[in-house]
Every structure is written in C-alpha cells, then in structure tokens.
Symmetry: C2
Subunit: 479 residues, 2 copies
C-alpha cells in the first residue's frame, strides 16, 4: 500500500488515493468506473445532505426516462449544439433498427420540458419544483474517476415559474443550498459566482457555479445552477394562463451536483497519508482498534472495545471495530488513515485497567493529535465534540489554503508569472471580451472560473484592458 | 375525477388509479413512464425498507456501469438466449460508430461477474455481498406502468461464495428478506416458492420467487432470488484458492425487487375509491382537513390544525395539512381517499371547542371508520396505534382474500372450470413435465407460479398425471 507524495505528482496521488482507499475502480467499459462500497457510501452521505436541503426548500423527487428522442434535443438550438458531440445513441431495440434514435440522457431539460408543457396550464400549477437522482451519459474523451466519467450519477433539479424574478430567485436559492452543503457538510469553502458567457450551460441565460480549490491550487466547478429564461419554455411550449387570463411562457431553472463532489472531497482535504474525510460525510467516523500482545489480554481488550462501540453507536456515531486478527495495529492505523476516518480509538491493556481509551485525530498526525487516558465515561460526548472540531478544522485549513493561494494581480505579465510560479486562484478586475477570455485560456491554460457574487473590492482597473470596472473575475487552471 | 369499478374493468381501474392518485404518467418514450412525486415517494419508502434489511444482513451498496459490452452477455449461453431479444443497444458514441456495441444493462450479472473475477483471489475475499440500486432496460412489447416498463428501477444484489451451500443459504436468506418486507411493510401476504425450470431466470440453477395475489385474483411475481451455481463463475472465471490451496470456482447468487412492487401495492390493496396504502409505506400517513363555514371560525380551526400537526410531527408521523381554500372538505376527503392516505383528521369548530378531533380510517369507509371527539391530548399515541391497526388490517384483508380465492382441484377439468368461474390461485399436487406445463399455459393462460416452499399437504395425487407426488404447485393467471 503506497501513494505518491502530492508535491511529486498530484495527478497520480489522486489515482493512488482512490485505489488505496478503495473508493472506485476502472471498469471494462471505456470511461465508466465502478463505484466501490466505500466510495458509494460517501456518495450516499452526499446525497442525504443534499436531498434533505432540497426537501426543506419545497422540492420533490421524481423519475424521468433515461432515453430521450433525438428530436427533443434539437428543439433548443444552443442546447443541441452544446451536447451533440457528447451523445451516446441507441439505434437498436428488441433486435430492430429504431425509426428515431434514442439518446441516453446527457441531462434532462428536454424531457422535463415536454412533460411540464402538459402539467402547466394555469398560474395555479406553478411553481413546479422537481428533482431527480439519476445517471447521465456524456461521451467524454479524457476521463478521471469521479471528476469526469462517461456515465456519472447526479441530481438534476428542474423548476418552472410564472415570472423571471421567481426563477432567478430559485436559481440563486439552489446556489445557496449547494454552497451551504459544500461548506457545512463537505468542509469545502466554495466561492459562489456567475459563469462567463463562454462557460455557461448550453441553453442558459445565466449559469451560476460554486468553485472550489483543490489541494494543488486548481479549481473545480462543484455544482451549477442555471437560469434558463424562457428558452426551454418556448422550445417546449410550457405556457400558462396568468391571473389576467393571458397566456405566458414559464421561466425555468435547472441545477445539478454530481459524483464529482466526491472528487472534490478527496482533493480538497487529502494529504500524503491519503484521504481525510469531513466527519459529516465520513462513512466511518470512528474506528476502534484493539491492541494486545498476550492471549489473556485479548478478551479484556475486546470487551472494552465493545463497551466503546455500544456507547458511540447509542450516540448516533458511525463507528466500526477493526478486529482483524491477521493485521498488526500499526497496519490498521495506516489503513484507516488512508481511508480518511476522522477519529481512531485505540484500546490496549492499560486502557482497560484505567477504564479509558486513547483518541487519535486524522487531521493532526502524530503525537500532537493524540489524547491519552480519555475516560470511558462520557466518551461519546467527547467524541462528538472532537468530530465537530475536526469538521471545523478541515474547513479552516481549506479556507486558509485557498486564501494563501489566491493572488491579486495588476497586469497580464504578473498574471502569467503568478500562474506559473504559484498557481491557485487569480482574482482580478475584469473588463475583457469573450475573445480576450479565449486568448488567455489559449496562452495560459487558465479559464475564467466565475465572476464572484461577493465583491468587496468595488471598482478597479482591469488587469488586461486597463479599463475601470466593478466586475471581478477569478481565473485558474481547472479540472 | 373518477375511476371505473374494479368489477367492471380491473385493467382500466388500475390505470385510472395511477392517473387519479398522481403516481405516474406515460412519457413520450415508448414503454417508459414518468414516476411522479407521489409515486416516487412511495418507491423511496419501498427502497428504505429494503435497503435497511440488506444492510442488516451484511450487504453494501455500490454502483456498476450502465453499459455492458455485447461480448459479456454472450459468455453465459442461457443468459444471452434469455435476454438477447430484449436488448437496447448503443451503437453510436460521441458521433462515431462504436467498434463493439454497448448494451444498456437488462440486469448486471455479467459486469458484476467480470469485476468479481478481479476482486476474488482467496477464500479470505469471500463472501462478496454487494447490492446496487439502478435503472435497467428491457425492450418489452406490451407495457403497463410499474408492472412492466421498458426502463424500470430496481435493486440487484450480486453475491459470490466459496461453496454451493453458502450460496444457496444466501439465496434463501434474501428470499426471506423480500417476504419479510412484503408482509410487514407492504402488507402483502406473499407465498415463497421455487420457479419451475420453464420459468426460471436465464442462467440460474434455481430461481425463487415471492408470489402475491392481486385484487382480481391474478398472480404477480414480486421479487426473485436466484442461485446461479457456478454458471457465471465459469463464464467469468471467478475463482479462488481455498484453504487447501486448491483453485475453486465461486458459487454466485443474484436477487432483485423493482418498481413493480409499487404496482403490487396498488393492486393488492386498492378498492373502488382508489388507493389504500399500508401506513409503513404511505408517503402521507395522516392528512389533516380543516372545516369551517364562517370567517371567524377559520383562524381557530387552523390554529387547532397546527397543534395537531405539531404533535404528530413530533411523534414521527408523516402528516400533511390540506389548507387549500379553493376546495371543499368533501372534495378533499375524496381526493385523499383516492390517494390512499390511511388516516384523515377532521377539525371543525366543534372540535376546537371540545379540544378534540375526528379520526377517519381509509380501510373502513363511512361512519364505521370514524371516531368522534378524540381528545387532542395524547392524540399522537392514539394515531400511531391506529396506523398499526390499519397496517395489520390490510394484511389480514389481503390474506383472507387470498385464502378465499385459493382453490384446490382434483382434475384438469375442475382446474379449467375454477379458473374461468372464480380465478385466483389453484393449488395442486404436481408431477407434470415441462411440456405439460406449456400445454396448460397454452390452453388456459394460467402459468405455474411456483412450487411453494411451505407444503403442509404432504403427498397427494397430481391433478393432471394422476401420479402420487409430494410436489405442490400454484397455478394462476399472472401479470
């Protein structure tokens, strides 16, 4: 079991961690991965955190067809242009050539649009607030587990509203939901912003994003929320009679977070010992490792472990006992560190005698992160407080790291110099054009990640054009 | 809003209920349905009940690819023969013709088999106990919402074991899990049995089933658990070194329950007023309907409703207030009866004065099912007891109905006579051949549903062949 150091080869480190922590594996199907149980449980916890927030904001789940008639995709001009090169197409069904090919959904605006046009007649039918958890397929050339795979799992919310204002409010509400999840559950300090026209969703008026910084300073778009205007409503005829008995087009939104979030968690927190999972999302929050040498110690130590387990389970902590007899405690320590378990409880003969345990935290390696002689009585309270502390610390570390790797520059030369020497996020005033943006990408491989919503800077001079502007942009190399 | 009576046209009644209870709708994609929020929440409750049982029996969830290389399906001879006519095939990806077509999974034994062959080396790696929740596609000619759709949602468990005995135990354990769920959560008294060779899964040694009886006396196969022997292990080379250092093939199982279970719930319990949902699965267990005439009553009644709501929510009851102002109480009563909500709480001005409510149960129509003047104090305890009573009553009614519609016959003439006059399950001693079974199906449209595992009858005379046998079979017309 070994992983390369991040500083040596970040890309390989990522793949090493996924393999050694047993999160996922390549499958024989090009660009598709198998999500293994430990990785899937992490995704299930992501799902639970998001799903609860969706329901709290009035959304319901439903399920729409996997296959979409090719003609549906062609109804919105920008949409088909954006997705046509990435489609997987079913041409044979039940042994026969199909009259109209079926597309395996790359996203579901079109099929939702078709159904919504049937469900909406009156303003009383609005808003429609529906989400689905589903698999989608995009024929990607270069894939990386969790970050970019041909098939991936995600949720896609699709809503229809009576007015532009309501739809824009919904778009921003779901952006806030995503940011709240990322910050409080995933401990990732994301930046909320709007995408440039070049980077927005195919068919959207505006695309909003949460951008996260990975351990190597690159950006990762971790969730998006789109205001679609009446583009899809016009394409699919989603109309309603308003209070004045006039026919109006709806305004729609869509928003999605995918298994990519698992990649974000790996890269935002991982270190050279492997994964570090935020306690809120960790499949196993606490692992208990028994330690004994002599046979007569074994029974006592395991009984003590059982008491620890019972107390923590009772308190709702996700805890696991590692009672493997063919592995040393040292091997187990490394193994669970690799898998990012936030807290380790060690139980040896001395702990049995003193009715205590040793606590070790994943986010503070070595002796500094250990507490000795922690009494069994009240352990659960202590462990829960420690989990909270670790959760907060991961967020604080990621925030500090992002701040440290965010640079403001005054010129394009400085921009290029910082990008090559230090990387990270470059925050600038921005009055450039689409063409300027494209040129920067071509020359530096940095893209305009977003125009952040929170702009305390006020007006300033664009680093490229020299124009005075109140628009601020973040550029970075990105996954 | 209206549905046909079951006795008049059971088939149409089923479609009417699905439409009026807002469970699902046909989509523009041939044979695919849209599962609407109310239907999907019912499915989510089915999932939760099964998933909990899978985890309690040591299984973990994972996710395997949607696409399967065509060559994989061809590795197990019976398997490909069974599924080839039903496949949806992707031949174009990213704008290019694919070298090897990809099949949209009809079931995942083959891709699990491929991965398991990589994961299993030693007896220490066994058993492998993995489940996935997924969509699958089978190109069906005649579709019916929930019962048979081109795409459907399901779970498929796939396990690998060191010995035949362990695999058979697993197969039967999961059959028990399914029966436990059906009986205790879905209130459907299923019969556990083994499928005849003619009806078993393509590639299985033995297929076990839970068979349920629908409201019209027809059978519905509601879950299956397959012992696959070493068929897939040989096809995919799933081998391990045993304790004696000898190479052995694994024995594997697979088992699945699908959205068909939602169809079973509809048809096992529904009546001429619509759905009747078992409280354990009902998305809404209790609906609160405020009743007032004069404006000054409105505030008091709604405040009383809020107190009811708060108390029931606190007790973990899934409760909803129907405060629609544009509908009468009578309309609401019918509406929630149609949707099968087990308990209705009515709150009128008199209830406010007496600090009480009226309770009405869905499973007892009219005045008999009503309790007046139920005190607000302690209401939650009373409601929870009532929900339990309704759950038990639905199971008792379904069991009584099945018993009433199960007939034992002594001759083929009697068999045909009963089938045409009364229908239901026909329970017989059975020593017939595959050809006999085929002939019965051709002549009567009844199929051999299963050979039940529980056979108190002992030996008897086969109704068709006259041979003495201890094998018992259930025949019925089936979905």
């Amino acid at each position: 079991m070994s992983i390369v150091a991040r500083a040596e080869d970040y890309s390989r480190w990522y793949l090493d961690v996924i393999r050694e922590a047993d999160l996922a594996e390549n499958s024989p199907v090009r660009g598709s991965m198998v999500i293994k149980p430990y990785g899937f449980e992490l995704w299930e916890n992501v799902k639970a955190g998001l799903d609860r927030r969706f329901k709290e904001t009035g959304h319901q789940n439903a399920y729409f067809p996997l296959f979409i008639p090719m003609s549906f995709l062609q109804k919105e001009a920008d949409h088909v242009k954006g997705f046509a090169p990435e489609l997987a197409v079913v041409t044979i069904g039940g042994g026969e050539q199909l009259d109209e090919p079926l597309v395996v959904r790359p996203t579901s605006e079109t099929i939702f649009g078709y159904m919504y046009s049937r469900w909406v007649q009156s303003y009383r039918d609005l808003p429609l607030l529906i989400n689905q958890w589903a698999n989608v397929v995009r024929w990607e050339m270069r894939t990386r587990p969790f970050l970019r795979t041909m098939e991936f799992l995600w949720q896609e919310g699709h809503t229809a509203h009576a007015t532009a204002q309501e739809a824009i409010e919904e778009t921003l509400r779901m952006l806030d939901v995503y940011a709240d999840f990322a910050i409080n559950d995933a401990a990732i300090p994301v930046i909320k912003g709007v995408k440039s026209d070049r980077e927005k969703f195919a068919g959207a008026v505006n695309s909003y994003t949460i951008e996260a910084m990975m351990g190597n300073g690159w950006a990762l778009q971790s969730g998006t929320s789109h205001y679609l205007g009446d583009n899809f409503a016009r394409a699919f005829d989603i109309k309603f009679l308003d209070q004045n008995n006039e026919m109006q087009y709806c305004h729609t939104t869509s928003w999605g977070v995918s298994t990519r979030m698992v990649g974000a968690v790996i890269m935002a927190h991982g270190d050279d010992q492997g994964l570090r999972l935020p306690p809120v999302l960790a499949p196993i929050q606490v692992v208990v490792v028994p330690i004994w040498r002599k046979d007569h110690e074994r029974g006592q130590v395991l009984a003590h472990c059982d008491a620890v387990l019972a107390q923590l389970k009772e308190a709702g902590v996700r805890v696991k006992l590692d009672a493997r007899e063919d592995q040393t405690p040292g091997f187990k320590f490394n193994d669970w560190e690799m898998r990012g378990v936030p807290v380790r409880v060690e139980v040896g003969p001395r702990d049995v005698q003193s009715n205590a345990v040793v606590l070790a935290r994943r986010d503070q390696p070595g002796r500094d992160g250990k507490q000795f002689g922690v009494p069994l009585e009240g352990l659960a309270v202590r462990v829960r407080a420690l989990l909270k502390e670790i959760q907060d610390n991961l967020l604080a570390q990621a925030t500090a790291s992002r701040e440290e790797q965010t640079t403001r520059v005054a010129s394009y030369d400085e921009f290029k110099e910082v990008l090559d020497s230090k990387g990270g996020f470059i925050r600038v005033h921005w009055a450039g054009s689409d063409a300027d943006e494209a040129r920067i990408q071509e020359e530096t491989r940095a893209t305009l990640r977003c125009l952040p919503l929170d702009v305390p800077e006020g007006e300033g001079v664009c680093f490229l054009t020299g124009k005075v502007t109140d628009r601020v942009a973040i550029f970075a190399r990105a996954y």
